[in-house]
Subunit: 492 residues, 2 copies
């Protein structure tokens, strides 16, 4: 806030090398042995209560230390008056005290040799009062001198599912499945929305990080760290505004091609800019300039929350899409048409099959079916051998790079998932399979979930979203092939 | 299929007056006292089994007559060898016999004085063999002479939730909630997808009609019928291709403004055209020409399945949106920004409040909150009086036409829904409230569902979809105001 263009440029140059010690300490922050909750509470109207609940219910396997001078025990654990009263090392401090008491706590953390801080407390750079920014700057000075990475302030916290570490005020984050997507977000609300969507769609998550006001850990630091994090397969960014876009661009470019980055950037609206300024202390800025820069850094841009999640899941779970020739296998023609529309408008080719494949399909489907691509497998509903035969021919066809599989299931055709499961699992990871297998709630979810867990496919709610996710796999592939610093069109 | 442009034009002129007797008989078709299932079966691999199951499990209150010369009883009901063996009148016949036996059955139905037919059987105009089209034409001749409306052939059937009439091969359709949306669809797969989505999103449905090959009941007939159907508030169309677009345009224009029509048209892809030709016997045709014509007829166009459902729900449940000035009330700033972006790009104004409203909000929220529109109500999470106070001020502000309400709930803020419910219910139907209230699965669904059932709001899965639904309410309003036959931009 309040930086001139010159200052921003200077920053971009200065920040070319990030603080290596701080990055090293991020490892301890995300993989701590001992976590202190400074401001832990037994009272449900305090965030310190919810953070304790998150750590306990999340089954964190390390040591939890509630710190509160006014309490003997919190949630059954003996409380400490201060972190200085603990003799062994503490890796991570989660701070949920009022802002004015935070500088003293920071000094205490530094004396204690703490490796990382999650600062949930609000009331810093995001408030109208300039004292908020001053306070944040003084904290940044302290943390930077000690090379301590700070997530926040003004954040819900973070979660690392691979460590069962829920260092947030939202215990429900622990309901997420462990997986390969790490979400770095400038908005707590959007993190919660994406997490709740992810729970419904079986998204496998590695970490969720609420950057908040980004004291000294910004997108650039997180991208650099996550590129080397073995538990992260895809880095998902929710961005509103950046003081220093060059730093993120540079970080992304430096590790380009190691793993995919997907970004959803909001803040194109003038009214939205006001919101961003207030809630994380930065202007959202010009949308097209941002997107151009992100794309140049090899980042796949998407334009809504659902697409961020779908695309991240596809990139995390599917094998690479090697070309743009797509087969659409549909149990009903209508959804196939909807997928066709999106494929063609997004640069995918609804390919013609090789003659061998076409012959195999013609042998398996009656003449009344649409046997060319998009294939209407409807007439083979009751013939799981035929369904598997079509899938096999298409999976092995060198003219097909990826498969969109669309089927609406009700009791009249409920055996179909079981019929094709064996083949899908057997040939998993050969080519990307993005599916929309839809059924009434609660009926066949388990079968589809089983296919997802075994890496046979990803399942999304509509044919259009299946096609768009496939298109974004292609977008990623073309971006990587093209190499650094060339402009290209953006995914949707 | 195979019609010349000249023939199509002739049709458009001939069809200016629809068959009034046929339309009258549609009432009996959708509200029958007695339903015969011709081809009823006890065998789960027969569609005649699933149709019987649909009628029985759907708790149809009228008489169900299974017809099958080879069975004594089917699902506990005495079977008849033929409909002629039943002495009292039969309103509706659902036919699930092989195509070649259908002409004989049609003649029998006519003799019996049946009012309407649902012809599930496939193997007519949609097959490669010209005999299919010939057979369909001969059936059309029989049905038209007798003024009997026929849903199908080549369809899953139809359902009328207000009569607990599930005349389809999908018993799960009866899981849907009764409500005001009537879906008329050219695709069985898309109907199933939309129904399954509707189950998850508490969409209130009136009817779902699978047009299939449209023997003599096409979009035009259904629009005309549903415009006068007291149980239908919104007509939703899923369109792939039309032999005679003029007839639908004319039907929609004739009843323009009585109730909203929303259409999702696929088939812009060249590959999709092949699919449409095959599965319902018509070319999908030029997308932009279609959409222009639909818009001219006062039909709101949307571009994916989710938007068709969201927009239909908003139009069915919300009071009319009288202007384009929107308030965004968000529990967290990020989702508010995402909604802002969509609002501004879709022609909605993220309005400035009247001074009284702004003062009321300033009094209720601390300075650290974003108090102008979009309002970040986060700092008032624990103060349900403040939340209700902000909502009241905004609801009563003459500068606000509609409200987008966005809140992500987890256990730390779980009281918030309860806190605002009373006010939302009290002021229901004053202005449209489109919400994205999101929580982990299964936790606060009941509370939000309660608000939807009482007509206080509609809830959609993301902020972007909330904003787009609101934009489509505005699109509908401007289209109605503008009057017939003027081109305008299409909703998304």
């Amino acid at each position: 806030m309040g930086k001139t263009a010159k200052e921003t440029e200077d920053n971009a140059i200065q920040d070319k090398t990030m603080d290596a010690l701080l990055l090293e300490n991020l490892k301890s922050l995300f993989n701590p042995t001992t976590v202190a909750v400074i401001g832990a509470s037994e009272k449900p109207d305090k965030l310190g209560f919810h953070v304790m609940k998150s750590l306990k219910l999340g089954n964190f396997r390390g040591m939890i230390l509630p710190v509160n001078p006014g309490a003997e025990r919190i949630m059954g654990i003996r409380a400490l008056p201060s972190i200085s009263d603990y003799r062994d090392p503490i890796d991570l401090a989660v701070i949920v005290l009022p802002s004015k008491s935070v500088p003293k706590i920071f000094e205490e953390c530094i004396r204690k040799g703490i490796k990382g801080i999650v600062l949930i407390t609000a009331g810093f750079k995001e408030i109208d009062d300039p004292k908020g920014a001053e306070l944040q700057d003084s904290l940044a000075k302290l943390a930077n001198e000690a090379h301590i990475p700070v997530i926040g302030p003004n954040t819900f916290g973070m979660i690392n599912l691979h460590q069962s570490l829920n260092a947030s005020f939202t215990p429900e984050f622990s309901m997420l499945q462990e997986g390969g997507i790490s979400l770095v977000s400038q908005s707590g609300g959007m993190s919660h929305l994406l997490a709740f969507m992810g729970m419904r769609q079986q998204a496998g998550m590695s970490k969720i990080i609420g950057l908040g006001n980004r004291l000294n850990v910004d997108f650039a630091e997180m991208v650099t760290f996550l590129m080397d994090d073995a538990e992260t397969r895809v880095i998902s960014l929710y961005i509103e505004g950046l003081e220093n876009p060059g730093k993120l661009i540079q970080a992304a470019n430096k590790k380009r091609g190691i793993k995919p980055i997907v970004a959803y950037k909001t803040g194109q609206a003038t009214s939205g800019d006001r919101a961003s300024l207030s809630h994380t202390g930065s202007m959202a800025g010009n949308q097209s300039i941002y997107e151009g820069a992100l794309r140049q850094a090899g980042i796949t841009c998407v334009h809504n929350a659902e697409s961020l999640l779908d695309t991240s899941r596809a990139l995390a779970m599917c094998p690479p899409l090697k070309g743009n020739r797509i087969a659409i296998l549909s149990g009903q023609a209508g959804p196939g048409m909807a997928a066709c529309d999106v494929c063609e408008s997004e640069g995918l080719e609804v390919t013609s099959f090789s003659s061998g494949t076409q012959k195999a399909i013609n042998d398996l489907l009656p003449p009344l079916a649409l046997r060319t691509n998009p294939v209407d497998m409807g007439p083979a509903w009751y013939d799981s051998v035929a369904i598997a035969g079509i899938m096999r021919a298409v999976m092995e066809d060198p003219r097909v790079d990826g498969i969109i599989l669309l089927m609406m299931f009700a009791s009249a055709n409920k055996e179909a998932v079981a019929g094709m499961s064996a083949f899908l699992i057997e040939s998993r990871q050969k080519k990307p399979v993005v599916a929309c297998l839809s059924a009434p709630p609660g009926i066949w979810d388990d079968q589809v979930l089983g296919l997802e867990k075994k890496g046979a496919l990803i399942n999304v709610p509509t044919p259009e979203r299946a096609a768009r996710s496939m298109a974004n796999l292609w977008e990623y592939k073309t971006m990587i092939d093209r190499g650094p610093y060339e402009s290209n069109t953006c995914a949707h």
